[in-house]
Amino acid sequence: MREPVIVFEKVSKSYHLYHSLTGGYKNFIFHFPKWIKSLKNSKFEALLDISFEIYKGETFGIIGRNGAGKSTTLGLIAEVIKPTGGKVIVKGRISPLLELSAGFHPELTGRENIVLNGVLMGLSRVEVSLKMNEIIEFSELHNFIDQPIRVYSSGMLARLGFSVVAHFDPEILLIDEVLAVGDVAFQKKCLDKMLQFKKNGVTMVFVSHSMMEVETICDRVAWIDNHTIKDLGKTQDVISNFLKSSC
């Protein structure tokens, strides 16, 4: 049971800041020494020397203030960005649900977006079409499924996004703050689905600002603050520490 599926070993991530490059040639000519200097120094450390393990079947919460490095962590797990230092090991197929409506094309219909997303996530076209009805059923978007999704509201997009990810037998599910825009009924439906995943042994990484949701489904929580892990452990303990420092 205690088999780690996501391992962070002393992971650091820094971004170059590109403002100096995009400042244009005037900036380049008139402030040349400064420009060179800023090119060397303009780094932003998003994560510093982070180590943790997430085990198979576990629901792992990540909390923290805006800009603390939560989304960078998810990006690293999803392998869309690479660490600058350390090692990230991920075993299993990842179903990412980062950012609302990411991965959807506004001109395509809901149905076409389901196919596009499914195949991008690693399924075959046949597998996607077999699941199609189930997905539409779950999203409750029957009347809109053949409309281009640019006419969708943000709540409807969240419904579509979650329904797609939830029906492709995820092994590792990444959820970033997407449920907040759905209505109460749908949020509940998603939570139920996630509890069901939990029962089936799906590993989930859950980023949220809703302490109530985190408390409901997470086994362990990491609190990221100031680009490092400030606290990691049982959900209740971390949340109460976090709330104490925030208030």
Partner: protein, 255 residues
């Protein structure tokens, strides 16, 4: 391995469908536009060079059409390439999949348009009392591969570098326009003055465009031209792929 390959095919199909659907979603005439554009250009050049400047080329309208359709494929793909990754930012930031498939499908769907336009070339051949020749059967697939490799390579270079140096987008448009007039598309290569003739092979597109036109008009393939354009195509592809490999891990960061 086999599953992997199958998945590549599925990805290409889905991404190409997406491109085509997005392109034609809100236009009534759809695919006809991809024919209308080179035909309009052919008309303009016909008026300018045949009617006004009296260029001495036999069947100049046919000559133009045989060159402009392949050129359109190249220039459409290359001009679209700066935006290939930028336009799909939301997907790239979210899901880890082979990103080089995006320029691949871009070039692929322009190739489909080109293939669909070949009947128009046949129609013009018939109007001028000529006919397609048997050599098309192997000539067209061969040139399709070379053309694809070349265009895909250049697209990879432009689309990857443009993420880090966004000015490239403007440069690309200027570059393709310049290249168009330096390539024997609207004039035959034999009209180039003797002292500049050696320069023609420095242009990677020349021998490819000459090959297309000769294949369509007289049904011949010249092995020197093929060798030269294949060399260029292969180098473009290798350079493009190396640049893409070097830069692709940072795509999600700079988008």
């Amino acid at each position: 391995m086999k599953k992997n390959f199958q998945h590549y095919i599925d990805l290409i199909i889905v991404l190409t469908q997406k491109e085509l659907k997005v392109k034609y979603k809100s236009s009534f005439f759809g695919y006809l536009w991809s024919i209308a554009h080179p035909l309009a250009f052919a008309f303009v050049f016909l008026v300018a060079f045949k009617v006004v400047m009296r260029i001495e080329v036999e069947d100049y309208a046919l000559f133009l059409i045989a060159g402009l359709f392949p050129w359109q494929w190249f220039s459409n793909s290359v001009n679209a390439s700066p935006l290939v990754f930028l336009g799909n930012a939301s997907i790239i930031k979210k899901i880890n999949f082979p990103r080089n498939l995006m320029p691949f499908t871009q070039v692929f769907q322009d190739m489909i348009h080109f293939i669909l336009a070949i009947p128009v070339i046949v129609l013009f051949l018939l109007i001028y009392h000529k006919s397609p020749s048997l050599s098309w059967l192997y000539g067209i697939p061969l040139l399709l591969i070379i053309h694809f490799l070349m265009t895909y390579g250049i697209s990879l270079i432009v689309s990857s570098i443009n993420l880090f140096f966004r000015d490239l987008e403007r440069l690309t448009t200027i570059f393709t326009t310049l290249l168009f007039y330096f390539t024997p598309v609207i004039y035959p290569e034999k009209m180039i003055p003797e002292k500049y003739k050696i320069l023609i092979n420095l242009n990677p597109l020349s021998s490819l465009m000459i090959s297309w036109r000769n294949l369509f008009l007289i049904g011949t393939l010249d092995s020197t031209h093929i060798a030269i354009c294949f060399g260029y195509a292969l180098s473009a592809f290798i350079v493009g792929y190396l640049i893409y490999k070097k830069l692709s891990w940072r795509f999600a960061e700079v988008l």
